[in-house]
Subunit: 457 residues, 2 copies
């Protein structure tokens, strides 16, 4: 098929949409390390996890062998309201960059949550509903995950309790208001509603909170309330499973036009978007059927893959969660308050950590002013105002395309555009006003937290 | 074709997208009344209009006979970045309402401007660029039009000067920041930058501005600066022409599935969205080929069609613009500050005014608390957080669907969902907090402004 015929946006037909999620772990030789009980340091059993997560989600979390999980019809119908998401050929960006590269992005921002988070939110809410639960609890930082979960719970008639990192709660009243529109209750974290919140407030009276702290509160709320479970928007195996819908749609769309990407780029905080985007492509690589370069892009201010340690660590500040083996900066690490670009989690998905450790994936870190420069450039050229998180991938994709201009290679570059930045205008304003700078933790900073990692084995 | 096969969203293929705009006026027996020179009360000539608008746009403005205008290739390529917009079957809404009605909406919010305004912004910017101009000036109220124009100008490398109604400028700093991201200069109106602004400020020192006042400033800036022209996001014939792309795509999508809507509903402020949505359907009605019900929905606080006068009036507060014959509340009418829902313009497109006066279209007005109730309901059921403006149409569509439930009629209802409400969370917050009430102007209020209408003929 001649290149001319590739449309600006490739949409799948409804009947081409995935009917099963793909479980990358089934094709991994080195499986991701299991979650450990923080008391015994033994692998968490299904029974133990069942106190925190829904039964079906526990199964998905622990299953390293089943390659495909059917997507229940109710979830597929919900997906139809905002999916398939478009796979966009960035013709305008290519022209502006004068690059021979062909650039594609999978755009997940065309839904009210503003990001890919809805893909897993509806799945987790569905299984909670199916189990007859009253509601779910969660944490949210920038607010994308909390919004997505609110939407899913509202749709299914589930109660939704969100602990929102206090500084975000105060800086992003509109995000909070969207969640309220969907009927969620939103509490700034740390709060006096939980024991762990009270303890953190007693130790750090002026704290503006962190993701790790909000996770602790949400987990406590779930395990101490009858009929509630905790849900999480990233990091976990189950989340990457649900997010495989991104990669599966992308691959189907590419296959229709006989396109094979050379490089696949995604931003990486906890890893949900990147893990979902690369899933079917990485599967081919693992099975030896095809080869691709994969690049995880993380902020220089929170560089878990590029400067972290591959070790067991706590997932939360209050240490109420299981231990996970991951590339981590230490569970007490919090990026500078100046950091505006999301992707603030101290650790990285166990699946992605293992793939990275096995040399199957690359990682780069980028400075936030470079990220916002790319964001603004992209907005003007491609018309979409990107989320700061997504803009990490834009930065790396532009850098790769510029390399192609220099070498003359007509590579095919795919990146994940995870969402829109409509609720991030304070960060854009800082950038425009020249009030944004680049905080990068020193080696000494990182060493301090590394020494605090739990000793396992 | 059985109903089961209709997907949740109908997307056209690129080759199915319209290649020409449809000019409804060509099929109108009673043509819309011409713009008049405010001094001589004679119809504005092309030459006179050429001082304010670009040449090509003047031609489009004055042409009541040519049925189709080719869409230039550059504009079609820009459209491909965010169009076709989806025609959505509201399966979830139908189920929730337990109505036999089939509800469809054409969703124009999947672009960074957040609304349909981009369809005309790129056209107007394109012709300005083609004419070799340096830039354009405009006004914006809620900010959708200003954002759209900023995006179009940024894409084409045109200077963009936006006068933003002062109260919006202060209440919506994020809208302003999006425009800045696209390189526009944004000035709160009234300002000291223009003579008319100075005059208004001298007469009303504490004023927070109005659309009519911002229009006056933008026009003055255009006509007093070499290489600039004024552009407008609604009301004008040319704008309705460009917006016909909405209706044309909708009709093509319906035709693919042999669907014929019974009722077509759109919100109406200046009329750009409604005029564009109904264009090809109204054309069929005018030519006697088919019949449809058309319903314009306006706010009870700014009821130009339902309670206004069909007369020549000023388009702006400073009276620097031509006179237009339209349903109007008087150019000094400003809806209550409590009114949150957009659609604040005192008059209505001359085309729609004529169609309404000829009995070809109905109009209803709705109260804003009813509008926000519908907005929240829709958000929860269909997943999209709608703009307050768009929610006027949602309200009316829900009301029609409920009537169908009562009568048992399986009518097909189409409405225009013009945009998203991500920058309107202050209004949603008011609604949630019970701080929103329903201002409706009294007959005495309206009579006062009616008496101030200019005497023409």
């Amino acid at each position: 098929m001649s290149e001319k015929k590739i449309p600006y946006k490739i949409y799948l037909e409804e009947q081409e949409m995935p009917t099963a999620w793909y479980n990358l772990r089934a094709d991994m030789k080195n499986k991701p390390a299991p979650l450990l009980n923080p008391g015994t340091h033994q692998p968490m059993t299904a029974e133990e996890l069942g106190g925190v997560f829904c039964e079906e989600l526990v199964k998905q979390e622990l299953d390293n062998d089943t390659a495909y999980f059917d997507i229940p019809e109710d979830i597929r119908n919900f997906y139809k309201m905002y999916r398939p998401s478009p796979l966009v050929r960035a013709y305008c960006l290519e022209e502006k960059l004068k690059t021979p590269a062909k650039i594609y992005y999978k755009f997940e921002g065309n839904n009210t949550s503003g990001s890919h988070k809805l893909n897993s939110a509806i799945a987790q809410a569905y299984y909670a509903k199916k189990q007859g639960l009253k509601g779910v609890t969660t944490e949210t930082g920038a607010g994308q995950w909390g919004t997505a979960l609110s939407m899913a719970c509202s749709y299914l008639g589930l109660d939704c309790k969100v602990y929102m990192v206090k500084c975000s709660y105060e800086q992003k009243p509109f995000r909070r208001e969207v969640m309220r529109t969907y009927g969620a209750s939103v509490t700034p974290s740390p709060s006096m509603e939980t024991e762990v919140g009270k303890k953190i407030l007693a130790e750090h009276p002026g704290t503006t909170g962190s993701l790790g702290c909000a996770i602790s509160e949400a987990v406590e709320k779930a395990v101490t309330n009858e009929g509630y479970r905790y849900v999480l928007g990233s990091v976990l195996n189950q989340v990457l499973l649900h997010q495989s819908v991104i990669g599966l749609e992308t691959k189907t769309a590419f296959d229709k036009y006989d396109i094979k990407p050379d490089v696949i780029i995604g931003c990486a905080g906890g890893g949900s978007n990147l893990g979902g985007l690369i899933a079917p492509f990485m599967g081919e690589k693992l099975r030896g059927e095809a080869d691709y370069r994969f690049i995880a892009v993380e902020p220089a201010s929170c560089p878990s893959l590029t400067r972290g340690t591959y070790a067991y660590d706590f997932c939360d500040t209050g240490m109420v969660c299981p231990l996970a083996k991951m590339y981590t900066l230490g569970s007490d690490f919090i990026p500078s308050a100046n950091h505006a670009g999301g992707l603030r989690y101290h650790g990285m998905s166990s699946i992605l950590s293992q793939l990275y450790d096995d040399g199957l994936m690359e990682a780069v870190s980028v400075k936030q002013t470079d990220v916002f420069e790319a964001a603004e450039y992209f907005a003007r050229v491609e018309g979409i105002l990107p989320a700061p998180e997504s803009s990490h991938a834009i930065r790396a994709a532009i850098d790769e395309a510029v390399k192609c201009r220099e070498t003359g290679e007509a590579k095919t570059i795919l990146f994940g555009l995870t969402g829109t930045g409509y609720f991030d205008m304070v960060a854009y304003e800082k950038f425009h006003d020249g009030q944004m700078d680049d905080y990068i933790p020193t080696d000494e900073d990182l060493a301090k937290y590394r020494e605090m990692l739990p000793k396992i084995d």
